[in-house]
């Protein structure tokens, strides 16, 4: 009898834990979401999340050694830190450190966009604030952070308030919306958020890049027609004018689902918009192309196929670099292709690093014309210099 009772208790315990877990939604996959950037002195900074804290580390030797972490949020909170939804990092004109992240709320698919800043090179951080005025317990997630040439901070994110409003009114609505806000006072406060457009994809990162005019441009997965998940380009206007939004990819991949696979964008000083994106209308494919909003991209090139993911792009003068993760039998390879003619042609793919364990999305960084790939792996953060 006693044995039977014990057996029943063993059966019950996971079920009870499971019930508690209803309110403990967790992000997808290993928490290797990290962002890295060089400040104006060439110091590398890295943000990721651990134990309820966004943490900042720095390196003065190009990633060979990292400092002890500084906690960005003194009070622990839940943090999304997976590949498409990782903490973000950017610098102000005087190396002010700006950090944003998405905070999961209690219910599935909900979050708030959070922000904190340091004015003393990361020794201390401000109390985190919630960027948006809307406080509904819904998706405000997948934040993206950039600084324009005037030092204005811009944060964009995926927001489901219009989906819920449409649902309540019984009106059809696909996906979510893109909202954004900005700060004219170095992140002390943010303007009331504005909607960029309705019906975006719900689960893909937003890529931001600075235009030659110094504005911040966004490239993200939208929804066209009946769940055609092509991409959209827009300059995020912060002067009261309406942002011009245009479809920028035309692969016609239809999916009522979550690609979990956002694009990358880098804009040269000549204004050429170098982009990478994923689609799987036929075979899974990562594309490179030069965006011509309203028209199909120029110089399209299928750069990788099955097992490839989460590409990034960078440009300096006439050199364009592409990096992505490639799964193989031994784990992951960090792959690279380079163009020395501004994206007209690329050399063959080559492996520049490998990891036997899980990895986050690669991030291309530039320092004085040299390219590096920030690669957060299960074995630790790595900064891989791209061979010349």
């Amino acid at each position: 009898m006693r044995h039977l009772l014990i057996a029943l208790l063993c059966l019950l315990s996971p079920a009870l834990l499971a019930h508690d877990g209803m309110r403990m939604e967790m992000p997808k996959g290993p928490e290797l979401g990290a962002s890295a950037a060089f400040d104006s002195h060439g110091r590398l900074y890295v943000v990721d999340a651990a134990d309820g804290h966004v943490r900042l580390r720095h390196s003065d030797d190009d990633g060979r050694t990292l400092s002890a972490p500084v906690e960005v949020n003194a009070t622990a909170e839940r943090i999304y830190a997976e590949g498409e939804n990782r903490p973000k990092l950017a610098f102000g004109p005087h190396d002010e450190i700006y950090v944003s992240w998405s905070q999961p709320r209690a219910e599935p698919w909900t979050g708030f966009v959070r922000f904190a800043r340091s004015l003393d090179r990361g020794e201390h951080f401000s109390e985190p604030l919630t960027v948006h005025r809307d406080r509904a317990e819904i998706t405000h997630r997948f934040d993206a952070l950039a600084v324009d040439s005037k030092g204005r901070l811009v944060i964009a994110w995926i927001d489901k308030r219009d989906l819920l409003a449409a649902d309540a009114a019984g009106k059809p609505y696909l996906g979510a919306a893109i909202y954004y806000s900005w700060s004219d006072d170095g992140g002390a406060s943010f303007a009331p958020e504005r909607k960029l457009l309705d019906q975006s994809c719900e689960c893909c990162r937003i890529a931001l890049a600075r235009t030659p005019d110094g504005e911040v441009a966004a490239f993200f997965r939208g929804i066209y027609g009946d769940n055609i998940r092509d991409h959209t380009y827009a300059v995020l206007r912060t002067d009261g004018q309406t942002s011009q939004v245009a479809r920028a990819t035309f692969n016609d991949w239809q999916i009522a689902g979550c690609p979990h696979h956002g694009p990358g964008l880098a804009i040269g000083i000549d204004g050429i918009r170098h982009a990478v994106w994923y689609e799987a209308k036929g075979k899974p494919t990562i594309w490179y192309g030069q965006l011509d909003p309203g028209h199909a991209p120029k110089h399209p090139l299928a750069i990788a196929g099955a097992g490839a993911g989460h590409a990034d792009v960078a440009v300096h003068d006439q050199t364009v670099w592409l990096a992505w993760n490639q799964v193989n039998a031994a784990g992951y390879a960090l792959m690279l292709r380079r163009s020395s003619d501004n994206g007209a042609h690329f050399d063959a793919p080559r492996e520049i690093a490998r990891s036997s364990g899980a990895t986050g999305s690669p991030q291309l960084l530039l320092k004085q014309g040299r390219a590096f790939v920030a690669w957060n792996t299960a074995a630790g953060f790595r900064l891989v210099e791209v061979p010349r």
């Binding site: 019950l12 689902g257 899974p284 099955a306 993911g309 799964v327």
Partner: protein
């Protein structure tokens, strides 16, 4: 003691199978893709962060109930088995815990994606249909009624 046992026995049906979630490692993939003796095995891939997945799983479950002898339904979440608690709770909430359930258990999860289906880039939901004759089919996104009808 008998009353206590009876109380447990009465609780169990409501919470049944929450503990049946099994890991899926790369080495387990060939067995999962082995053709069934008859009919078809439907491998329903989903993830916690995919709002489209719940109605898709429920539609597949309805299809399985309509064809109980032709369809073997297995759910596989691409989330790590380390999230066992949240996964089991979600399956229970969807009343999907009556079906065999797997969760990724691999240091490089995208490797399982590739092994399961080289034509799949990890988007969810994804449905793999393995027929008794060895043929396979993969479909991404929430399936339409017309797609569901053509699955078998």
């Amino acid at each position: 003691m008998k009353r206590l046992l009876l109380a447990f026995a009465l609780w169990l049906p409501a919470l049944a199978c929450a503990g049946t979630l099994q890991p899926l490692a790369a080495a387990d993939v060939p067995a999962l893709l082995q053709p069934p003796a008859h009919g078809a095995r439907i491998v329903a891939l989903w993830s916690l962060d995919c709002a489209y997945c719940e109605p898709n799983l429920e539609a597949l479950a309805a299809l399985q109930r309509a064809h109980p002898h032709e369809i073997e339904l297995v759910t596989v979440t691409t989330d790590s088995i380390a999230l066992r608690t949240a996964i089991a709770a979600r399956l229970h909430g969807m009343q999907m815990d009556v079906y065999p359930a797997r969760a990724y258990a691999e240091a490089s999860p995208e490797r399982i994606n590739l092994l399961l289906d080289p034509d799949w880039g990890g988007e969810t939901p994804r449905v793999l249909v393995v027929h008794a004759d060895g043929s396979r089919k993969g479909l991404s996104g929430a399936l339409t009624p017309a797609q569901l009808r053509k699955l078998l």
